[in-house]
């Protein structure tokens, strides 16, 4: 652990992983709250407004956590990854600065109005403030994805004399095809988190026998949104993202699938443990030819395995990459099944009394978080050993002036701080859930 590179990598990985637990719910709920408020406004139905207000309270707590854990992310580009920032700042400085200028101002202004000024505003104005918060959070996600997509698939840049890269085309940066697939896939993941959390809390109330009017709304909205977005997640967004990887990062695809040997009619591994030393899969359960078909739409197409690439281009951690990818895909498939089943029962009018299905919905709560996290691990580990794909290696990007010891000091500091934040978050959300949607706006002092 005395390697500064390793400390800086863990520093970023830890802080960004913890951070992204919050924005995924923020972005997902923002959309669903708009849905609730829209129905409430159109039908003039107070139950929907109560439902929206309940989720706004959870949203508020979640948002604070997202903001306070988000500030360190922007700073760490400079503090821990200064050589990367010097190299790439001329390009990704654009998208990061635009996030601050376009989304943070929008979000912070209207969040205050949305959370604390419902009575000062007319219902329609309050609905607009919900829309503005939704737009702000989704814009924020967009600029971050543009930044990450540029690191995955650099476009719109020129290399200049001092060794750095500079922007050559703004529109190429913003219209990077990688960014749009990744954005669609990422936002789908966020809505799934929001939908499952909403359905899960609703199912919990139904099993508990409390707040049934609002709980039915939660389950209905959560299940319908969950079915739509978990289906879109498989096709077209997951498929599109996968083909971007197959085209531009074939070695990453090979590592994700733990395909050690190039072959025509490559199988899709469903389960099994990659044995990197022996270059094979232990205990495999495979679908023959399926990987070839999914990648190239031809059953007997040749897919490049890891053996087609020199070892110093392999992602360093093949087994973790393989597992995170398979966990994401496996959970995504399970979400489609759960939401499909629940939606069927909902359509037949049996969902609210099908206790077994309500139990499944309750227990589903943590899994979208795991799937989203695993997806991001797949994206970021898959890019290794590159920090900017093909342009800068991760080992060249960290702050050479910040020693491993100083990095460790602040890493431990963040761990302690985030433990406290995590406990506070769970404690406060548990209280809100216990008080339930029918309670008046908790009097704030």
């Amino acid at each position: 652990m005395d390697s500064a590179l390793l400390v800086h990598r863990i520093h970023f990985a830890f802080t960004v992983t913890f951070h992204y637990l919050f924005p995924q719910l923020t972005m997902g709920l923002a959309l669903l709250i708009v849905v609730l408020k829209t129905i409430g406004l159109r039908r003039n139905d107070e139950t929907y407004n109560q439902a929206a207000r309940f989720w706004a309270r959870i949203f508020g707590i979640n948002f604070v956590m997202g903001v306070v854990t988000g500030i360190p992310m922007e700073f760490q580009f400079g503090t821990n990854w200064s050589h990367f920032s010097r190299f790439a700042g001329g390009v990704i400085g654009q998208s990061l600065a635009m996030e601050g200028v376009f989304s943070f101002f929008l979000e912070s202004t209207f969040l205050g109005l949305f959370l604390y000024a419902e009575k000062r505003l007319s219902p329609r104005q309050h609905w607009w403030s919900a829309i503005a918060v939704f737009l702000g959070s989704w814009l924020s996600g967009f600029f971050i994805i543009v930044t990450d997509a540029w690191m995955q698939h650099p476009v719109g840049y020129v290399k200049v004399a001092d060794g750095s890269v500079q922007l050559s085309s703004f529109w190429e940066l913003v219209l990077n095809p990688w960014a749009w697939w990744q954005y669609a896939h990422n936002m789908g993941g966020a809505v799934i988190t929001g939908a499952i959390v909403m359905a899960s809390v609703g199912a919990f109330y139904l099993l508990w026998g409390k707040f049934e009017a609002q709980a039915q709304i939660f389950v209905r909205v959560g299940v319908i949104a969950g079915l739509i977005f978990s289906t879109l997640q498989l096709f077209p967004t997951g498929d599109g993202q996968g083909r971007m990887i197959a085209e531009n990062q074939p070695v990453t695809l090979a590592a994700m699938e733990a395909l050690f040997v190039s072959q025509s009619g490559a199988p899709l591994v469903i389960l099994g443990q990659p044995n990197v030393e022996a270059r094979k899969i232990d205990n495999p359960i495979e679908v023959p030819d399926a990987l070839s078909f999914l990648t190239y739409r031809v059953w007997k197409a040749n897919v490049q395995g890891l053996d087609a690439f020199p070892k110093d281009l392999w992602p360093e951690n093949v087994s973790l990459l393989y597992y995170s990818y398979h966990i994401m895909v496996g959970l995504g498939t399970i979400f489609i099944a759960i939401m499909g089943g629940a939606a069927f029962l909902l359509w037949r009018g049996k969902l609210f009394s099908a206790r077994w299905m309500l139990w499944i919905l309750v227990l589903a709560l943590p899994f979208p978080y795991i799937a989203n996290t695993a997806g991001w691990i797949t994206a970021e580990l898959g890019r290794q050993p590159w920090l900017v794909y093909g342009l800068m290696r991760t080992a060249d990007g960290y702050s050479k002036m910040v020693s491993a010891g100083n990095g460790m000091f602040t890493l431990l500091g963040f761990m302690g701080m985030y433990m406290v934040l995590g406990i506070l978050f769970l404690f406060l959300v548990r209280r809100e859930i216990e008080q339930g949607p029918a309670a008046e706006m908790s009097s704030r002092h």
């Binding site: 001329g90 390009v91 400085g93 601050g100 101002f105 922007l167 500091g413 406060l428 704030r444 002092h445």
Partner: protein, 347 residues
């Protein structure tokens, strides 16, 4: 183009200090000025709807700095590694201090978050002042444009400086006093009754200290970094800045005496802008002076700026973004204008 972006970043930093400065200052006086629960709620309600937006100026200024001067961002953020991380922790604590406090009525819970809010606000103002002091004093930049400063060495200015030395401690204290006054005057504007009186009195008693520290600070800056006068000697118009600073101090004491809180707050805002513009004017075109071999190693707007094309493109969206941002702020401050009341929704 580089000069334009230097001015843009300076304006954004100034906007941050003026805006977040008043809620940081309100945090610094929070425990002292708010004697009762209701008074503390009034302070929180005065800053509640706007503090997060104010803080966004820091993020937006940081993002713009990254975009316009990537090397400056890379060098200074890694060089000031430890204090910046502590700033992050303080910002986090302060954020939850304000936002989570109201979620439970238990006095122990509320008291805990009150303390966190106040202490983190005080420390943040000192850190920000010390940071500005470091930038003016200069840092031990290497030939590659990077440096790393320990938190402290021997507290003397010179070759092996730490983040804290007598000069940066002084600038930290100046920032604390300045923002305490600034925050007090904001709360005075937003409240009535005993709290209004008390915050105005805080500003009144801090004023002589602010005047003395301003003069001591200017002399100390000239002693530590004699080159600060060069730009003033070349452009006599620069001498307007100290006149504005002293004039705004005059406006402040006049308005405080007359109980014209809004005018006093404006004076304080002008003072802050004057001090920051004065520092920026003195440094230009240097953005981070080197303490050894300043002629060759100092970071300037020219050797740290991003490519021309990027800077030109950025101007378009920056102007658009700022029109929107200023629009939001005008709307928000108008909506929450007037004295705060305890009834109804809010903190």
């Amino acid at each position: 183009m580089e000069t334009l972006w230097f001015m843009i970043v300076a304006v954004m930093v100034a906007a941050y200090v003026v805006l977040d400065g008043f809620d940081l200052g309100a945090g610094a006086i929070y425990l002292g000025a708010g004697k009762t629960t209701d008074e503390r709620r009034k302070i929180l309600r005065a800053i509640g709807p706007v503090w997060d937006g104010n803080e966004v100026w820091l993020l937006a200024a940081g993002g713009t700095l990254y975009f316009a001067f990537p090397l400056l961002y890379a060098s200074s953020f890694s060089g000031f590694y430890l204090p910046l991380m502590m700033v992050l922790w303080l910002l986090m604590l302060r954020g939850i201090g304000i936002e989570l406090r109201a979620h439970m009525e238990n006095p122990v819970w509320v008291g805990f978050f009150d303390l966190i809010f106040c202490v983190s606000s005080v420390l943040l103002t000192i850190f920000f002042g010390a940071a500005l002091g470091n930038v003016v004093r200069g840092v031990p930049l290497g030939a590659d444009g990077y440096f790393f400063e320990p938190l402290w060495t021997n507290f003397r200015v010179g070759a092996n400086t730490g983040i804290l030395d007598w000069y940066t401690v002084l600038t930290g204290v100046i920032a604390l006093v300045t923002l305490t006054t600034h925050g007090s005057l904001y709360i005075a504007v937003k409240t009535d009754g005993a709290l209004n009186q008390r915050t105005r009195n805080i500003a009144l008693s801090a004023w002589p200290l602010q005047l003395i520290l301003t003069i001591v600070g200017l002399v100390a800056t000239w002693y530590v970094q004699p080159t600060v006068l060069d730009n003033y000697k070349q452009n006599a118009i620069g001498y307007l800045i100290p006149v504005i600073v002293l004039g705004s101090l005059g406006v402040m004491i006049y308005a405080i005496r007359k109980a014209q809180d809004k005018l006093a707050f404006m004076g304080s805002a002008l003072y802050i802008v004057g001090m920051l513009v004065g520092a920026a004017f003195a440094l230009y075109p240097v953005v981070l002076p080197a303490s050894t071999d300043p002629a060759h190693r100092s970071l300037t707007i020219y050797n740290t700026a991003a490519g021309r094309h990027g800077l030109t493109v950025g101007l378009t969206w920056w102007i658009l973004g700022m029109i929107l941002a200023v629009g939001y702020f005008v709307m928000l401050f108008r909506m929450f204008r007037g004295k705060v009341r305890l009834e109804g929704e809010g903190y």
